[in-house]
């Protein structure tokens, strides 16, 4: 079947799904987790094929780790689908009601978006997660997984397809495409696909954004900052900066630049360096930093780099205002934190830093849909429209207006 045909089937399915009852959707989800649970041996067998291929082509350790499934990960998939079942149905909610005139009532009702295109890399578990979220929110979905996970993706997709096809309206609501050529075709289908969600490397997101007229929900860089203010509690700052950098360095919400107020730098930096040294974090500082601790010199390029690694740039600033300006200039509007005991300074930072998540006295690593209690995460968006920051089910929802009258015409109101 060609891609255009698949997209048209998905579009048709989306129209039916839009008014599907919660119970039907939850039943479909239940059949999905049962199928995954029952067929875990087959899933692991298929995954082994991918791992073997990965070995042949010398896939990097990080990617193999993401690719590899085991019983624990399958448990998590099952749990994930169950948690989507437990989420409130986001569709059909009354968002607003206005009486425009006697017997002329306007209602704003939440609806699915329509057809979602999802392009993801490596993790086959993403396929299950995103399919579940789309089913729950009444959207059709076209999935494209990484070729390195093609056997795992195919079996998971087939299990899902078989599990939901029992009910006619779901039959074509989940589609899989497999080749890179397919992606190129998908990106042309702005008459069928309403939203593209790329989940993977920055390079992938950038490629998608530059090659389609379809709106894209995705994140570019994660250049996150922690600013240690003059009124910071030093021990608290040490803990939070360490966690923001070291708890998991390869993720988008890890700290990449640490900003330190001049008045606490002499006390703070040597202690901080000691902690980072134990984790072999490579430090790069501005000239002022170099006067206090012995680290590499940071260049302009460092301030705009997402290392995704155990590397950190450090800059000394004169004020919270300077810290805010630095973050707004070099940051990626993802997640930025201030450490201070002063509420006014904190408010200045939280109000004026233009990022999707701003934090006071806690780790940047908290910015995540799961930790924010959004249920499963659709993705993280660094865009400024529709949905921003960690995006849960609400990112797959829009609305329509229903106007109900009894014969009103505009001529009578003009």
């Amino acid at each position: 079947m060609n891609i255009k045909k698949q997209a048209e089937l998905a579009k048709k399915a989306a129209l039916d799904l839009a008014s599907a009852k919660t119970e039907l959707k939850n039943d479909a989800l239940k059949r999905i987790f049962l199928a995954i649970d029952k067929n875990r041996n087959e899933i692991l067998e298929e995954n082994k094929k991918d791992l073997k291929d990965a070995e042949k082509i010398g896939l990097s350790g990080v990617l193999v780790k993401r690719l590899k499934l085991d019983d624990k990960k399958i448990d998590d998939m099952v749990k994930g689908v169950k948690s989507v079942i437990s989420l409130e149905d986001p569709i059909g909610k009354l968002l607003m009601a206005t009486e425009l005139d006697k017997s002329l009532n306007l209602y704003k009702i939440s609806t699915p978006i329509g057809v979602i295109g999802v392009i993801f890399e490596s993790r086959p578990d993403a396929l299950v997660q995103i399919s579940s979220l789309c089913i729950k929110s009444g959207n059709a979905v076209i999935l494209k997984g990484g070729s390195e996970a093609k056997n795992s993706n195919r079996i998971l997709f087939n299990l899902i397809k078989d599990a939901i096809k029992e009910n006619e309206i779901f039959k074509n609501s989940v589609q899989l495409v497999e080749t890179r050529k397919d992606v190129k075709e998908l990106l042309e289908l702005d008459d069928c696909i309403d939203l593209m969600i790329p989940r993977g490397s920055n390079a992938l997101v950038k490629y998608i954004k530059e090659n389609t007229r379809i709106p894209v929900l995705g994140h570019s860089d994660g250049i996150c900052h922690v600013y240690v203010d003059e009124d910071a509690d030093i021990d608290l700052a040490l803990n939070i900066c360490f966690d923001s950098k070291c708890q998991y360095a390869a993720v988008c919400n890890a700290m990449e630049t640490m900003l330190v107020h001049r008045d606490v730098a002499k006390e703070f930096l040597p202690k901080m360096k000691k902690m980072f040294d134990e984790e072999n974090v490579e430090l790069r500082g501005c000239d002022e930093v170099l006067k206090i601790i012995d680290v590499e010199k940071a260049t302009e390029k460092d301030w705009e780099t997402e290392y995704n690694d155990l590397i950190l740039s450090i800059k000394i600033v004169e004020s919270a205002k300077e810290a805010i300006d630095h973050v707004n200039r070099y940051g990626s509007h993802h997640t930025d934190a201030i450490i201070t005991e002063d509420a006014d300074t904190s408010n200045l930072f939280l109000d004026n830093v233009d990022s999707s998540s701003v934090m006071w006295n806690c780790s940047t690593r908290f910015s995540d849909g799961f930790r924010y209690g959004l249920g499963s995460e659709v993705g993280i968006s660094t865009g400024k429209i529709h949905a921003r920051g960690p995006v849960g089910l609400e990112g797959l929802v829009i609305y329509k207006y229903k106007l109900i009258g009894n014969g009103q015409i505009v001529a009578d109101y003009s």
Copy 2:
């Protein structure tokens, strides 16, 4: 000053505007309407220059009508700004609060989007309306008006600029660009501009969408339908169809195709034709229609055409289901109405027609921000993300998350 520089100034202004107090914003708006009111003679003088140029180049009557200002239109501008003042400030609203853990609280707060690019045609009043909405919502705005209104736009822009510059934070928040070459440059600035709003012809909207990576809020076609069901009240249907087509045919929410259930066609169509004949509406029907009334034959192309004129295509259908399928296939997801006395049929239509406005027993001409009580209208969107249908101030708003802790790190939760 070059466009890039203007956009950078706007971006900087947007950062300061984001936390501007409601009072400051309303003060700025007040100075704007006072300046417009006081300088109406100069505005009309400049407008005359544009009208003279319009005559020279033989601008069409419709466009001249849009271009021409008079005291009444200036009154409306003043009233428009006043109405924006009276709107609730959409910024800084608490949208959600969650206690993630003891002393770890997450808040979702509404914020401006940032920098809005607005490209509009003909109507100089649009400049005042959109600037007011952007100021109220704390967004910076870059305006590009039609060259046919350049003198009118320039004086209105200068009045606004002078009126608001008293307060430093507004100094660069409204920018004007003037040439077509500027537009091309604007569309490249996806690092400065967060959202483009084209207001004008379909050709304009299409051009913008195809030439920028910046998200676009706009509407493509307005192919609106009225479906006259077998259980319709015939007199009511006649009235509503007449209003939907004839009250103002040149607008996007006017009916372009009328769908009629076979069982009422013989009674309904001759009466309807008589009414349309009086307004010289050109009718085009499917074969079944031709058996009942003497009109031109409609071709496949008619079902997908927005006439924006006194032309109407008519099709006879067997069921509400067929009507719904026709609307979803040929419509533009703008506004579609059903006329019926049967609530179940109505619900089927309202739930399954995938349009931003769906209506029961009233005219499609109601779908409009002003009539929906949204205050001034930012535009109408036929997109499926961020904002759909008539868009008021809320279309210029997004949110940020604030996470407030007292030392929490993710390592303690993993």
